[in-house]
C-alpha cells in the first residue's frame, strides 16, 4: 500500500500538464507579495495551533500547513470581483483573500470582532466584502453553492468567475458529480479545485477513491481535468490562471487538482496513526515556503536577511492578530437570536417565530426580553468556563477534540 501511494505521488509530482519544471519568476514585487502571504499563513496556523493548546480556540481546528503554495498560488489568479468558496480548512484562504489576520483569529477565539461575529468559528469564516463566500463544514457542501454563485455571475451577464476549493475526500460525495454535470450543462464560469492533500481525514487517497488521478474524475461529466504541483506556488498560479481563463472566457467549467500535503494532522485531535513519520518528512523536504525562499535567494531576488525580515514581520502580524482577538469581547448574550432571520415584512421580530418565551406576544425582539430569560442565558453561558482547566491540560499533552472533551465532562461528573 505504502509503495503504491508513493508511486502515485511520484507520478503526480512529475505531471504538471506539460508545463516546464521551473517557471520563470514573476516581478520582484509579486515574489514578495506571494512569499509574505505564504509566510503569514504558516505563522498564523502555527500560532492557531498554540492557541488551541491553550484552549483559546474550541471545537475543531484544521490547519493548512504545507498547503500554502496551493492556497496562495490559486487565489493570486483571482480578480477582486471573482468569488472564492472553500472548506473548513480555510484560514489560509481568508488570509490570502485579504481578511485581516486579527479578524480571522478573533473568529477562532469566538469573539464578536471575528469575521462571522463568533457564530461560525474556525470552519465557517466569511468575508462578503472580499467575495470570500465561506468556509463550509460539510464535505462537498460548497460545490452546489459555488455552482449557484457561478449561475448568478452568468445570469447577470458579468465576467466574474468562481473558484471552489475542496479536498480529495469531497470527490466521493454526490454533490461532486451533480455539480460537475450541472456546471458543464449550463456552461458556468466556475473552476473546481481539488486540494489533494492525500487524505480524507485519516483515510489515504488510495483507500477512499477507486480513481486516484482525481483530475480524471469529472471528465465523464463534461468537465476537463488538469493537474498542478501544489507545492510550487508558481505552478499552481500558472495552472489556475489558465483554467480560470477557460471558465471565464469559454464558459467551460474546469477541474484542477493540486497535489499537496498537509504537514499537520486532519485536525488537532488527530493522533496521525495512519501515516509514517518518514512519509511526512519526505514531503516536508518539499516545503513550499522554504523552497520558494531558497530560489529567491539563489536567483538573487532577495538576500537571505530580507527573507528573514519578511518572516519576522509575519510573526509580528500574527502577534498583533492575537492581541486583537484577545482584546475583542465575546458576543453579547442578548445577541443569541440575532440574524436567525432577516427581519422585514414577513418576520417582524423573533417573537413571531419562537414560542419558547413565557409571553407569546411581547411584540418585541428576544434581546429586550427582560430579566428572567436574560438570567437564564447568563446561567447557561457560565458553563463556558467549565472544563477549561482539563481541556488545557489535555491539549498541552497533545490531545484534544470531542473525545477528550467528553472525557473532561466525564471527569467532572465524577467530581475529578
Amino acid at each position: 500500500m505504502a509503495s503504491e501511494a508513493a508511486a502515485q505521488r511520484e507520478t503526480a509530482k512529475g505531471k504538471r500538464d506539460g508545463r516546464e519544471a521551473l517557471h520563470p519568476l514573476p516581478s520582484k514585487g509579486t515574489c514578495e507579495a506571494v512569499l509574505r502571504k505564504m509566510m503569514l499563513i504558516r505563522r498564523f496556523e502555527e500560532r492557531a495551533g498554540e492557541m488551541y493548546a491553550k484552549a483559546k480556540i474550541g471545537g475543531f481546528l484544521h490547519l493548512c500547513i504545507g498547503e500554502e503554495a496551493t492556497i496562495v498560488g490559486a487565489t493570486q489568479a483571482l480578480r477582486d470581483t471573482d468569488y472564492l468558496l472553500s472548506t473548513y480548512r480555510e484560514h489560509g484562504q481568508a488570509l490570502a483573500r485579504g481578511t485581516p489576520a486579527g479578524v480571522v483569529m478573533a473568529e477562532l477565539f469566538g469573539r464578536v470582532d471575528g469575521c462571522s461575529k463568533g457564530r461560525g468559528g474556525s470552519m465557517h469564516l466569511f468575508d462578503m466584502e472580499r467575495r470570500f463566500l465561506g468556509g463550509y463544514g460539510i464535505v462537498g457542501g460548497n460545490l452546489p453553492l459555488a455552482t449557484g454563485v457561478a449561475l448568478a455571475c452568468d445570469y447577470n451577464g458579468t465576467d466574474d468567475a468562481v473558484l471552489c476549493m475542496f479536498g480529495d475526500g469531497a470527490t466521493n460525495q454526490g454533490t461532486f458529480g451533480e455539480s460537475m454535470n450541472l456546471a458543464a450543462l449550463w456552461r458556468l464560469p466556475v473552476v473546481f479545485m481539488v486540494i489533494n492533500n492525500q487524505f480524507g481525514m485519516g483515510t489515504a487517497l488510495e483507500r477512499h477513491s477507486a480513481v486516484t488521478d482525481l483530475s480524471k474524475k469529472a471528465e465523464g461529466y463534461g468537465v476537463p481535468g488538469h493537474r498542478c504541483d501544489g507545492m510550487d506556488v508558481l505552478d499552481v498560479h500558472a495552472a489556475t490562471e489558465e483554467v480560470l481563463r477557460i471558465a471565464r472566457e469559454d464558459r467551460r467549467p474546469q477541474l484542477l487538482e493540486a497535489i499537496t500535503y498537509r504537514f499537520r494532522g486532519h485536525s488537532m485531535a488527530d493522533p496521525e496513526e495512519y501515516r509514517t513519520k518518514e512519509e511526512v518528512e519526505e514531503w516536508r523536504r518539499r516545503d513550499p515556503i522554504a523552497s520558494f525562499s531558497r530560489r529567491l535567494v539563489e536567483e538573487g531576488v532577495f538576500p537571505q536577511e530580507e527573507i528573514e525580515r519578511f518572516d519576522r514581520e509575519a510573526v509580528e502580524r500574527v502577534d498583533e492578530a492575537v492581541r486583537f482577538a484577545d482584546a475583542s469581547p465575546f458576543p453579547d448574550l442578548d445577541s443569541l437570536y440575532d440574524d436567525v432571520y432577516v427581519l422585514g415584512d414577513q418576520v417582524r421580530g423573533w417573537w413571531t417565530v419562537d414560542e419558547r418565551s413565557p409571553e407569546p406576544h411581547r411584540g418585541e425582539r428576544e434581546r429586550e426580553s427582560g430579566a428572567v430569560p436574560h438570567g437564564l442565558a447568563e446561567a447557561g453561558a457560565a458553563y463556558a468556563a467549565v472544563g477549561d482547566v482539563q481541556a488545557r491540560r489535555r491539549r498541552e499533552q497533545g490531545r484534544g477534540g470531542p473525545r477528550a472533551a467528553a472525557e473532561d465532562r466525564d471527569t467532572e461528573r465524577e467530581g475529578g
Binding site: H124, N156, T175, D339, G344, Q346, V353, E355, P360
Partner: protein, 327 residues
C-alpha cells in the same frame, strides 16, 4: 372575484413576480419544456425562456444548493421539487446551508430562496411520493414555512415568499392543486404569520394544516348539522412564523382544541401545537388537546389502505366529540 384552481393561482404568482423582478427565476425537474409535473409552471417556459425557466437534471441536493448560492450572490431563485419526499435528498442544502448561512456568517449573507414542493396522499403513489413532512421543516430555525390551503392564500403567500429575504419552504398539496377558489384580482403579497378563521364557532377549536384545513371545515359542517357542535376552524397558513395568538384566542373562547394534520403523529405539528396550547392556555382547557394525524406508517399503495391512513372528516368529528365525552 375570479375563480381559479390552486395550481393556476400559483402560476399567476410566479408569472407576476417574474414580470416584476428580473432577478426572479425558477428551476427544477421538468418545469420547462414538460410544463411541470403538476402543471404549476405551465406556459412560463414559452413566456420567459430558458434563462429564467430552467429545466434541471435530477439532482435535488445540488439544485437546492445552486439556489442557495445564486441567492447569496443576489438572485431570487425559486426551486421546484417534484414532491416533498424528494426534498429529503436536499436536506443537507436546506438545513446545513440555506437555514444556517445568514446566522453562521454573522448576518453577512442573505438567502432569498423559495423551495416549492407538493405533499400529500390520495393518489396511490405509495411510500416514496405521498408523505406530509411539514413538521420536519417547522423544526428548523432559519426557515420560513408556508402551507397554504386555498388558491388565494397560495398566490398571496407565494408572492410574499418570493419577495422575502429568508429561505422559504413552500409546501403545496397534490390534492389541492385541482381545487377552485376565489382569488382577488391584482392581489399583492400576503403576510406570513397571520392565521385565518375559516369558520366561527364557540364550542371547539379545530386547527387544520395544509389540505387538512379543508377537511376540518367539512368536519365542522358535520359537527353542526349532526351533533349541534359549533366548531371554530383555523388555518394557520404559515407554520414559521406561527400565528399562535389567533389559535390561543380561539381556545380561550372554546376551551377545547383539535389539531388536524396529514403527517405522522410523533414530533408532528399537532404535537408541537398541543404543547404550546397547554403551556399558554392551560387554565382555559376543559379537555386534553386532541390530535388527528396520518397513520404512523409509510404510506401504503393499495387504495383502501391509503385512504385509511390519512384523516377524513369522520376522524375529525370523532376527535372533536371525544372532547365532550364527560359532559
Amino acid at each position: 372575484m375570479p375563480v381559479m384552481r390552486y395550481r393556476e393561482a400559483l402560476n399567476q404568482a410566479l408569472r407576476e413576480e417574474m414580470e416584476r423582478d428580473q432577478r426572479v427565476f425558477i428551476m427544477g425537474e421538468d418545469i420547462g419544456v414538460f410544463q411541470g409535473a403538476f402543471k404549476v409552471t405551465q406556459g412560463l417556459f414559452q413566456e420567459f425562456g430558458e434563462k429564467r425557466v430552467r429545466d434541471t437534471p435530477i439532482s435535488e441536493n445540488t439544485i437546492v444548493g445552486v439556489g442557495v448560492g445564486a441567492a447569496m450572490a443576489g438572485l431570487r431563485p425559486i426551486v421546484e421539487l417534484m414532491t416533498i419526499n424528494f426534498s429529503l435528498l436536499a436536506m443537507d442544502q436546506i438545513v446545513n446551508h440555506a437555514a444556517a448561512i445568514h446566522y453562521m456568517f454573522g448576518g453577512q449573507a442573505k438567502v432569498p430562496l423559495v423551495v416549492r414542493m407538493p405533499q400529500g396522499a390520495g393518489h396511490q403513489l405509495g411510500p416514496t411520493h405521498s408523505h406530509s413532512l411539514e413538521a420536519l421543516y417547522l423544526h428548523i430555525p432559519g426557515l420560513l414555512v408556508a402551507a397554504p390551503s386555498t388558491p388565494a392564500d397560495a398566490k398571496g403567500l407565494l408572492k410574499a415568499a418570493i419577495r422575502d429575504d429568508n429561505p422559504v419552504i413552500f409546501i403545496e398539496h397534490e390534492w389541492l392543486y385541482g381545487q377552485r377558489g376565489e382569488v382577488p384580482e391584482n392581489g399583492g403579497p400576503m403576510r406570513f404569520g397571520e392565521a385565518v378563521v375559516r369558520r366561527e364557532g364557540a364550542d371547539v377549536t379545530i386547527v387544520g394544516i395544509s389540505r387538512m384545513a379543508v377537511t376540518a371545515e367539512r368536519a365542522a359542517e358535520q359537527l353542526a348539522n349532526e351533533h349541534e357542535v359549533e366548531a371554530e376552524v383555523i388555518d394557520p397558513r404559515t407554520l414559521r412564523p406561527l400565528d399562535l395568538d389567533t389559535i390561543l384566542a380561539s381556545v380561550r373562547k372554546t376551551n377545547r382544541a383539535v389539531i388536524v394534520e396529514e403527517g405522522w403523529p410523533h414530533g408532528g405539528v399537532g404535537a408541537n401545537l398541543a404543547a404550546l396550547i397547554q403551556e399558554q392556555a392551560f387554565d382555559h382547557l376543559d379537555a386534553p388537546v386532541a390530535r388527528v394525524t396520518g397513520a404512523d406508517v409509510p404510506m401504503p399503495y393499495s387504495k383502501p389502505l391509503e385512504q385509511a391512513a390519512f384523516p377524513h372528516e369522520e376522524h375529525v368529528v370523532h376527535a372533536a366529540l371525544s372532547l365532550f365525552r364527560d359532559l
